[in-house]
């Protein structure tokens, strides 16, 4: 980190390599478009590099980077008028991304199809969440950030972060239920006379 701040190119390259997956994953799930996510994630890294002097080494680098990503993504969505491009729209690019998101460890065609369906449903449910909920869900459940780190990255009070996570989780489950995904026990209860 110290070398990157001193302007060492190889050190910054290492930083980009270390954080490209979480950052791209976050941005892609917020903006929901592969090309936009690539462009925006690159822009975020460039912005971070140019503001390295402002980074306080006492703080976590990931939280600082996610804060830049949060601001850039929210700006982008605002400019785009908060419109979202659903991945399940059937467009070629969205379908391709979904295929990549579906569990690659699935072996049989039936299993692959099932996982693809699941990925499609999860993507669809995520797409219906508000962007700020989507971001918090990704930071919490995909990146495994603590509530405090999420609060730092998003600039929200800790209590609001907890409330948002709770509501986002509930909404996500509701959206999945609307798509036909229910826990087996509930389905069994419903089918009993």
């Amino acid at each position: 980190m110290a070398r990157a701040r001193a302007g060492a190119e190889d050190a910054y390259y290492e930083l980009v390599r270390r954080y490209e997956r979480p950052l791209y994953g976050l941005v892609a799930r917020i903006v929901r478009d592969a090309a936009t996510a690539e462009d925006l994630a690159q822009e975020i890294f460039v912005k971070a590099f140019r503001s390295l002097d402002a980074y306080d080494p006492a703080r976590k680098f990931s939280s600082w980077l996610f804060k830049i990503a949060h601001n850039a993504s929210i700006d982008h969505l605002r400019k785009r008028g908060l419109e979202t491009q659903p991945l399940e729209s059937g467009e070629e690019e969205g379908e391709d991304l979904l295929r990549r998101l579906a569990d690659p460890t699935a072996v049989s065609p039936a299993q692959r199809h099932e996982r693809l369906e699941m990925a499609r449903a999860l993507e669809s449910a995520m797409g219906r969440l508000r962007p700020e909920y989507r971001e918090i869900v990704v930071l919490r459940f995909q990146e495994g950030l603590a509530y405090e780190d999420i609060a730092e990255a998003t600039g929200l009070p800790l209590g609001t972060v907890k409330t948002h996570i709770h509501r986002a989780r509930k909404e996500l489950a509701e959206f999945l239920a609307q798509l036909g995904y229910h826990p087996r026990s509930e389905t069994r209860r419903a089918s009993e006379p």
């Binding site: 490209e20 590099f49 991304l97 569990d103 099932e114 509930k170 999945l176 509930e186």
Partner: protein, 173 residues
């Protein structure tokens, strides 16, 4: 609609359906598992390099072997080598006919003498340089000159450091 659900999704949805305050933690843990089994979007290949280029940091790597001209030159050289090898026996026969063994031995001896003379000349130059070095060393060994040299080295070091800082600052913006 009833579909088979992945275990993680099943556990998560069951925890969410529990509607108990205590189910919040298991629901969070289960949703974390769902995300673990649901791979995140991956950045495209060469993403980091593209970032470096965009930040104006990546030096363009020139592949010397990428040019068609280099390919053509290598192919020509290989073809020439193949032709030369096939013609080698004929050249050897011609050389044997053109030169007598005595000529060859005489030529070898003359070459050896010339090489020895060149080596003696080089040794003379080395001797001169070592005498010069000795004389300079005697001058530098005096305290005044040594001190001046140390001061010059310190000044040069300071100047280089200042220059490096200037360049680094410029590169960051």
């Amino acid at each position: 609609m009833n579909r088979r659900l992945d275990d993680a999704v099943e556990r998560w949805l069951a925890a969410e359906a529990a509607r108990e305050a205590s189910a919040s933690e298991p629901a969070e843990a289960a949703l974390t598992t769902v995300f673990r089994h649901w791979p995140a979007p991956e950045p495209p290949r060469g993403f980091a390099l593209a970032v470096m280029r965009r930040a104006g940091l990546a030096r363009r790597r020139v592949d010397a072997f990428a040019s068609r001209w280099v390919h053509a030159a290598i192919a020509s050289a290989l073809a020439l080598a193949a032709v030369s090898v096939s013609l080698m026996p004929a050249f050897a026969r011609l050389a044997r006919l053109a030169f007598e063994p005595a000529d060859i031995i005489g030529w070898g001896s003359r070459t050896l003498v010339a090489a020895t003379q060149a080596l003696a000349g080089a040794l003379d130059v080395w001797g001169f340089l070592s005498r010069l070095g000795g004389a300079l060393g005697a001058v530098v060994a005096t305290p005044q000159v040594a001190l001046s040299l140390v001061l010059v080295v310190l000044c040069a070091g300071g100047a280089l450091r200042a220059l490096d800082r200037l360049i680094t600052a410029e590169r960051s913006f």
